[in-house]
Symmetry: D2
Subunit: 457 residues, 4 copies
């Protein structure tokens, strides 16, 4: 595979193929073919010349490794490829060969080729993203009423609805899906400007040729060119980075909830999945690992895109080439993470009993705020806060359930007893009741997410 081994291990075969040498070369040749067709249609070059060029626009005809080596000397992937194509055409018709790549420049064919393979990559990403959103919405709907510990600053906090957690995982993914849909309209655009962006060689016909090429390849077309104005392109890459960041958030939560000592969720097991050479009993969270690695690498690639925006004059030296080289990694990481998490979510093991047990293990301490608020209403906030500090400290140190500590405190204090309603206090310690607000908010959220998701084409 055209990817180093520890890279390919973290992504998918499908998306590696999208960006592999042959695919990129073929996409560049697709541009050359479309250019020739458009120029023939505009009468700039003879039809037969265009046909001959098109016939030679097949990646399998060329020696990729030799082209790479020559490209290093030439300073451009396009120069040796165009040379090889020209020679191939010339072997049939020297005149037609003079029309190859006519009026175009290296950056036109390289950028457009990259746009074309990126479109394929985005199709893969979109399909997997769709499936993942769908599955998360189903999980959210199934677990609206399931109590689970909410945790803040890596400490158990209060209870929430498990469906709310799933909905919160889905929401950013659905936003990214919409955003990608919007951004591709500008970002998947033809690059065609000629040597310095003015389409000078084709004269008056330049714009018409450009429109034809764009239509032929199904790409957007900008009024200028984007040789060194990379904002639309970078914006697309950064949205993929945001998507991967949101996947990383899911993987963070999943891996934390799958810790042996918490064990509320688990990735699916099965043939060859997550084993350990040294510990046959372990079930490693392999999907989380892939998504976390993707999220760990992506910010740097995003920074790379931004860092390379200062491309000099009409074509950048070093920065454009660096941007191109960093580009595929963003997509490979995203698809690796999506595919891994889809597999995890499709086979997700949800242990609701353990969730309940983890709540119970906290001896009612997570209901302290609710109790505190109730107390504040009855005896004033300062007194309530002070009392709760004492009581929760006792519950912690003596490992007694807070409800019992509270009851004892009230029993032992006449004033408190007269101000407080023990039954109301008991109700505050019910996990299902405590989940009610989370459940309601989640219900509304899920319904809106589903609507947004279903309505997006």
């Amino acid at each position: 595979m055209s990817v180093p081994i520890f890279d390919s291990f973290l992504t998918t075969t499908e998306i590696i193929r999208t960006f592999d040498d042959t695919a990129v070369i073929q996409a560049m040749l697709d541009f050359e073919a479309a250019l020739a067709r458009a120029q023939a249609a505009q009468g700039l070059i003879p039809g037969p010349a265009a046909q001959l060029i098109e016939q030679h626009c097949k990646a399998s005809l060329y020696d990729t490794d030799a082209i790479i080596v020559a490209a290093r000397r030439a300073g451009s992937m396009a120069i040796p490829l165009v040379k090889a194509l020209t020679q191939a055409v010339a072997a049939n018709d020297a005149e037609a060969a003079s029309k190859v790549h006519w009026g175009s420049t290296s950056q036109d064919v390289i950028d457009t080729g990259t746009v074309l393979v990126t479109r394929d990559a985005l199709a893969l990403i979109n399909d997997t993203l769709d499936a993942l959103c769908r599955q998360l919405l189903v999980l959210a709907e199934q677990h609206l009423q399931t109590p689970v510990l909410a945790r803040t600053l890596m400490q158990p906090a209060q209870v929430t609805s498990l469906g709310f957690k799933f909905a919160n995982w889905a929401a950013p993914l659905i936003r990214s899906k919409q955003q990608l849909k919007t951004l591709v309209r500008n970002a998947l655009q033809l690059q065609l400007g000629g040597a310095v962006g003015t389409l000078a060689v084709m004269g008056e016909q330049g714009p018409a040729v450009a429109r034809r090429v764009a239509a032929d390849l199904g790409l957007a077309i900008n009024d200028g060119n984007w040789h060194t104005q990379r904002d639309d392109w970078v914006r697309l890459g950064l949205e993929v980075a945001i998507l991967t960041g949101s996947l990383g958030k899911i993987a963070t939560d999943l891996s934390l909830m799958a810790q042996g000592e918490i064990a509320e969720l688990a990735e699916p097991s099965g043939q060859g999945r997550g084993g350990s050479t040294a510990m046959p009993h372990k079930r490693n969270p392999v999907s989380s690992m892939i998504a976390l690695a993707a999220a760990a690498r992506t910010p740097q690639r995003a920074a790379g895109l931004l860092a390379n925006m200062g491309q000099e004059h009409e074509r950048g030296l070093g920065n454009w080439q660096a941007e191109l080289a960093d580009w595929p990694g963003l997509f490979m990481s995203a698809h690796g993470a999506l595919t891994a998490l889809l597999e995890a979510m499709n086979g997700l093991v949800i242990d609701t009993a353990r969730m309940r047990q983890n709540i119970d293990n906290l001896h009612g301490l997570i209901f302290a705020e609710a109790v505190s608020i109730y107390l504040a209403g009855a005896i004033g906030r300062p007194a309530a806060h002070h009392l709760m500090e004492t009581l929760t400290a006792r519950a912690v140190s003596e490992k007694i359930h807070l409800s019992r500590v509270v009851r004892q405190a009230i029993d032992a204090d006449d004033r408190l007893r007269s101000q407080l309603d023990l039954e109301q206090i008991d109700a505050l310690f019910d996990p299902v009741a405590a989940t009610r607000n989370g459940h309601q908010i989640a219900e509304k959220l899920v319904s809106q997410l589903r609507q947004t998701f279903e309505n997006a084409p």
Copy 2:
């Protein structure tokens, strides 16, 4: 100023003020006041309590440094501030004090406070961005027909229209302006979820209170909360980063064109601007320097936003705090760069004679493509390419104008003389004619950019 000295030197006093200690504390207090008002309006707390709270929501009443020191121990800026506010209210009315910050959590007040100061920062950015776009469009319109060297890979390439360069500088700025306008709709949103995002304390009334607070503060409201779903927020930050990247591109070009040996553009001079302690004759490109520094620092901050997206469970440990701390720098750099470039563009020194001279200094070599294409049409591309390699090599080594070398070659070769038209060749060496295509493309581009710009509110 609440910024280290080598930071403050690269930005503006106005935007430093937007994010300074007092402004942030005040914005947090504005949230507390709005929360109390909304809860009073919903009947959750007494009206007089809300009024009393509101009266104490003035940053000048509190000791910022002491709050920061206490915040380090507490692990949150909000805890000591809320405590100080509560104590201040309690000095008047202990009961009202128990309603301070009620049903809210640290992250609610901190995030919303940050949103409020960010809105102020964006207003500053938008104003300066508007002025810069306007000035660039004027420059573009003025110089549509001015020939200037286009340069690719840091080498003179061919001629283009100076107006085209200006238009290409303006285009990404106008796109960023539009994009920011779209993104703030979601990103400038209220944060209000209570301890774990479920608004549990306020019960059924939570959503209504949230809607009131959002309306009061003029913020958007989301269906859930965004405690650990930072995508909308990050997306806004990344767009500011893209804007700064586009400014860096302008500064790159400007500083290259302002080099003493090129001298086509110069930043304005004047009182205290760009002097050198050791070289009284130098005019340093100070605006470019500030914009380049901004563009150099911004990718890392953008990476920081993405790297901190994996916030654990319902509130992140370390990553949320890192994101907050990195946030203002993005805006301070952007405004520093915008202000610097606006000053540069308002007083830009444009030396069109030098532009022409730089073209002439290249001995016609930049017209080689045009000649080559003409030759290819006449004698076939391979022969043309081969001939031009020889002729341009001679023009370079003997420092003779290419037009003369070409003419001599044709004169010396009967076959060529019969195939070629010397008058047509001479015309290919005219810079103004060579600019025609760039001029036409730029004209259309500028007109569309102006339309987009004028139509945006």
Copy 3:
């Protein structure tokens, strides 16, 4: 404080003071005073002029904010400062004023000033680092024999020695301490090259003056200058980044082990530490939070240093200024993290009983490898691996202790019974015995670390 509020919250007052406006201005003035003294000593300027200059090298004499504003126009912090100093001296003696900053350049005073404040920052860092290393070594020595779960890929794996964990936390810190000591020798160096690094103005005496200034300020001196050769400087910054990375690793482990459901370690509690506005029972891992935030922000700053190394010619445009502005953050984060973790380690709550209980909760599964190896020795690895897969699956699904499952399997199978020794198998399930190897390796490691640590000055 000269730092934005959400920055200052994550670091210490001491190190903020090191880099604050006054300290930086004073350090720059210290350079000017030392330069004048050295030039007087070499006979280049009159002694009284040097004395007069020195008398005016007090930061309190100048208006920092005005200097910053003027610096933005001038493009250099040094220009307005030198101007102000010159004016102050000139008010006494115009001739002496002409000797201010003589033969030097903006970058000389700015870089040297930054070196001087960095030395102060490193002294703070070194002190806190020492104390932290010392405490970690003590903890390691105390807990060499304490069994604790080792965890891999976020899953319980096998038992190890708690002292080994502490020693592994200490080891990289001690390596960073040594490395910093080595690197400062080159990195804390004088910058003095004059306008373009050739010390041209001072003629033959330049090198002698430079040696005197370096000796006076206690700085190293390089054979050339380092105006645009930033490697020694960047190397120092990156080592601070590595230190912060190692602190982040400690904080990661600490926060994971302090999770409510694991509860093996806890940060100290106490007045105002780690409370929550909404959850009075929570003890938030505040030290971990500060160290994690530092570790989250530092890689980007390190990238900034590297990204700005390509400084043009003899003085960079934008990149040098960006490097300067990014520099203090590296040190502020490191000292914030060190101070926070020192506090955490000094009051660390270690629950060895809970560690044992967490081991026991795993039903012997973590001893599966030991059992597997024993079985492999007896019945061959493939058979052993296959058998253990079955047995551990049963232990998991039926929640029975693995030792019991193994015993039952052996009892039920004559062939196994004849091949295996039940007593040996029982011994494999003893946590203390299982820690023996970790204990021994840790003992040697700790002893070597202590030796290295004690021997470093």
Copy 4:
């Protein structure tokens, strides 16, 4: 090649080969063979078993692509490889198969394998670095007396010695060479800790086996293990990043000096080098481009190493895998940049006449500081500064040589004429004289650099 096309275009075939799938797999197998040998030598496994294992440790025996696909499911490259090796051995001897990878863990084989291929990569880097340093020292020695413009903030400043520039390019490379030599002593170390770093399976013999394996593979050995203590490793990676940064600085200067309008240096031309598809006359700075792209990408990779240091507990989830995947890129970029710049420096075209002409074109303005200092000595600094502002402004606006303007001013002013020596002033405008100080400093610097370089093995 096992690298995406736009990556492979920016590096060398040799270093791609070092990190390609087969090389990495072979290195992992080398570890397994060495482990078996060591265990046999210690009597832990039978000699014939070790021999059989060793015979199967050949990468060509295994299907790399199948292993990668299986590794994604398993979450580790090692698991399917060890499985394949075990099966291959088992086909001959089931008992010997049970000794494969014995007492080791996935991370041991993966990390050690990566160390081994990294050693090969460093050898390539070191060789090319040596050659480049050597060539730069030669160039420095040849051009100690050649005057060239020094430029600060992208503006011509004063003259310096070209040899000084070359020496300043060489100095950081020689420092990196030394630093790499020091760092590999710790960083090229064996990883062998078993499941959780305690070498538990091998009991008392673990440390002896580890020493044998390290000696066998020629690697350092640490007292603990470095499963999640990555500082030594990261330090090595960061030094490679510093080296690439220093190469980027050279490429920045080279590409600026090679601009058509400056033309002081040029990269060598020749067959297929730096041509343009559209502009046959252009000689693109291809080496600079490759080095600049390397320098543009490297900071992000360095940030990735630092960002992934917080590896959890005894084996990281996602971060370790991300670090592994980012690692080779650092080395591939460095070697690409070194090779490109070596080619550029070996054939560097140095136009000393143009350097002189560029000095002359500045009308003596770059000597203004020298004149100013002379004037300050004669008429006091304030008067001198004021006078020079006027005179240089005149020289600029009227495009007259400053020496003429100065002479006219003196002629026109009796007081000045009496205070100043016209001959001395004339001498200040001599470029060769002005280079003297730079020459002397450079001479000393070059001599010391050569000594350091020659003495390093």
